[in-house]
């Protein structure tokens, strides 16, 4: 009875059932997800009113309206909420369309994002796609270096007790140093030996991304149990064969989890690496330039561009993960 292949009857049910489940599931989650997004947007718009109240009331006063308190000096020390409550009309009407708001409204950020991506030539220094590509190229290079380094270290750590005890503590210590403190030093040191351009940023990016890969891969390479290792010993398999046939395939699910964390960390590293270089190009440069000139809309749109870029990178890794794990028969 229990000898009947589970495959034949269940495979078909599994496939069609899975698709149906997914549809049902996404229909079921669409409404809650939309609700959460709507709540965030509502909160954001609401927050714009007190955040931008000083400017709104000032502009209303200049336009000839009577505001309270009447002089700018009296208003200066009032909080945005109090000011908004005492001048509800001007505070609400003036909150969402300022040139340099303290907190730009979502539609302002969206418009700026649209204008600086679709509305510009890709080669223009005003194009977020141009700046995004500058950051992305450093991110990808750094991510590749960090991932390769992380995997290499993990293989060493798993096979050598000396490496386990000497490398791992330093890897952990390296992550406790604030990156913002170490980034300028890396750039200065590399510049003094003639390395500049994309490489210093990639180094900082790799510095952040190798760590999750090391931790994940050490766990993954050690995940085979004693029986699976014994089995290979009964075949007289070498260490290298054990690594290739057992440890590496067993570690892949761990690797993908690490890569998702690592790629996001890489992007942060590349952006941080752009801050001390004088802010010529890249998303980090847009952030810095925006804060020099009080261009909050520009800052926020660069922030969102970075977040969208990170989401795309993580989604790409998820896709590769799904494809490779299902090819390996590891996803059901």
């Amino acid at each position: 009875m229990s000898e009947t292949p589970l495959s034949a009857p269940q495979a078909g049910i599994g496939r069609s059932g899975r698709a149906a489940f997914w549809l049902r599931n996404s229909a079921g989650t669409l409404f809650p997800v939309a609700t959460v997004i709507a709540a965030i947007l509502a909160l954001w718009y609401l927050a714009c009113i007190p955040m931008n109240a000083q400017q709104s009331v000032l502009e209303a006063e200049r336009a000839g309206a009577i505001v309270s308190p009447e002089t700018a000096a009296d208003r200066r020390d009032l909080g945005g909420i109090v000011l908004g409550l005492r001048n509800p009309g001007p505070a609400v009407t003036g909150a969402f369309a300022q040139d340099r708001p303290r907190l730009p409204a979502p539609h302002q950020v969206a418009a700026e994002l649209w204008g600086s991506t679709v509305g510009q030539k890709i080669t223009s220094p005003r194009s977020l796609i141009y700046h995004g590509w500058v950051t992305l190229s450093a991110t990808l290079l750094g991510f590749a270096i960090g991932t390769a380094l992380g995997i290499l270290l993990a293989v060493g750590i798993v096979h050598s007790r000396v490496m386990d005890m000497s490398v791992m503590p330093w890897a952990i210590v390296s992550q406790t140093v604030p990156i913002i403190a170490i980034a300028p030093m890396i750039i200065v040191v590399l510049y003094s030996i003639g390395v500049q351009g994309i490489v210093p940023k990639a180094v900082i990016s790799a510095y952040l991304s190798f760590f999750p890969v090391v931790v994940g891969m050490v766990t993954g390479l050690r995940s085979p149990d004693a029986m699976q290792l014994d089995l290979l010993r009964t075949y007289g398999a070498s260490e290298e064969q054990t690594l290739r046939k057992l440890r590496v395939p067993a570690s892949l699910p761990y690797l993908f989890a690490s890569l998702k964390i690592g790629v996001a960390a890489s992007l942060v590293g590349a952006i941080v690496g752009e801050l001390p270089t004088g802010a010529v190009s890249g998303l980090g440069a847009r952030l810095l330039a925006g804060s020099y000139y009080g261009q909050t809309v520009q800052i926020w749109s660069a922030l969102f561009a970075a977040a969208i870029l990170a989401a795309m990178l993580v989604a790409l890794i998820s896709l590769i993960e799904r494809l490779s794990l299902s090819r390996m028969g590891l996803s059901r």
Partner: protein, 259 residues
């Protein structure tokens, strides 16, 4: 006189644990001839699995001598003298059934045609034709264990070591696999060392039953089975079968009382 496959003399094995030394094997002496089917039976902690692991070269005895195929157990392991079947099937989930059976062949670096041929032949031997491209999770527990037996058979070692291979299966599947195992043994003429904690299983399968007892792990009785090699399942209702089973039970009880 036929060929000696396993020969143990005064085998001792003491594990150093945090609670002090534990004697897993004490003065174990045993000979296994080519083509025999030897079962090891006893309560947990009697050292039956430990003895099997010693033969496999996975544990180092602390005393006595042990020869497998005329060499040391470690040399026999490196010469791939045996196939080992563990209690759990332990198939690699990322490999198909065929891929799992191919694993030892890949490690032994056989040619592509040779690998393909042996995978096909061994899967046929355990009645798993047509499942080569399935993944382990698509198979029932009994079929997975058959695949793991195929994996141990694929490189055609003379000796098959089986550590409670059917322990986790239900009785109906187990009966069927026992029957198939006997047929397999008759067809291949391999030497079998089989660890179990089931008396009927031991008596049904074996030409020789080694009864072991715990603390310290030792052999308390060795029973040569008078049953014929051809054994239908209903042989288990014959007086001879019941008599051997009785003797095994007595041996187990005596061992427990002494401990």
């Amino acid at each position: 006189m036929s060929e000696m496959i396993v020969s143990a003399r005064g085998l001792d094995l003491t594990f150093e644990t945090n609670d002090g030394p534990v004697q897993a094997l004490k003065d174990v002496s045993l000979d296994v001839e080519k083509g025999e089917f030897v079962s090891f039976i006893g309560p947990s902690g009697c050292g039956k699995t430990t003895f099997l692991r010693c033969v496999a070269g996975l544990e180092q005895p602390t005393g006595g001598t042990l020869a497998v195929n005329g060499m040391s157990a470690d040399a026999a392991r490196r010469a791939r003298a045996y196939g080992y079947v563990f209690q759990a099937a332990g198939l690699y989930p990322w490999r198909t059934i065929g891929g799992n059976v191919r694993l030892p062949l890949e490690i032994m670096r056989l040619s592509e045609e040779e690998k393909a041929r042996r995978v096909r032949e061994t899967l046929a031997l355990v009645d798993l034709e047509g499942f080569e491209k399935k993944f382990p999770w698509q198979l029932s527990g009994g079929m997975q264990q058959r695949a793991s037996i195929a994996r141990a058979l694929s490189f055609d070692a003379e000796l098959l070591l089986m550590d409670e291979p059917f322990g986790a299966l239900d009785e109906i599947v187990r009966d069927r696999l026992n029957e198939e195992l006997l047929a397999l043994w008759a067809r291949t003429g391999k030497t079998m060392l089989f660890v179990t904690h089931s008396i009927p299983e031991a008596v049904y399968l074996s030409t020789k039953i080694v009864v072991m007892s715990p603390r310290p792990g030792r052999i308390s009785d060795v029973i040569e089975s008078p049953l014929p090699r051809e054994r239908p399942l209903d042989i288990r209702d014959t007086p001879e079968f019941i008599e051997i089973a009785h003797r095994v039970r007595e041996g187990l009880r005596a061992g427990m009382a002494a401990a």
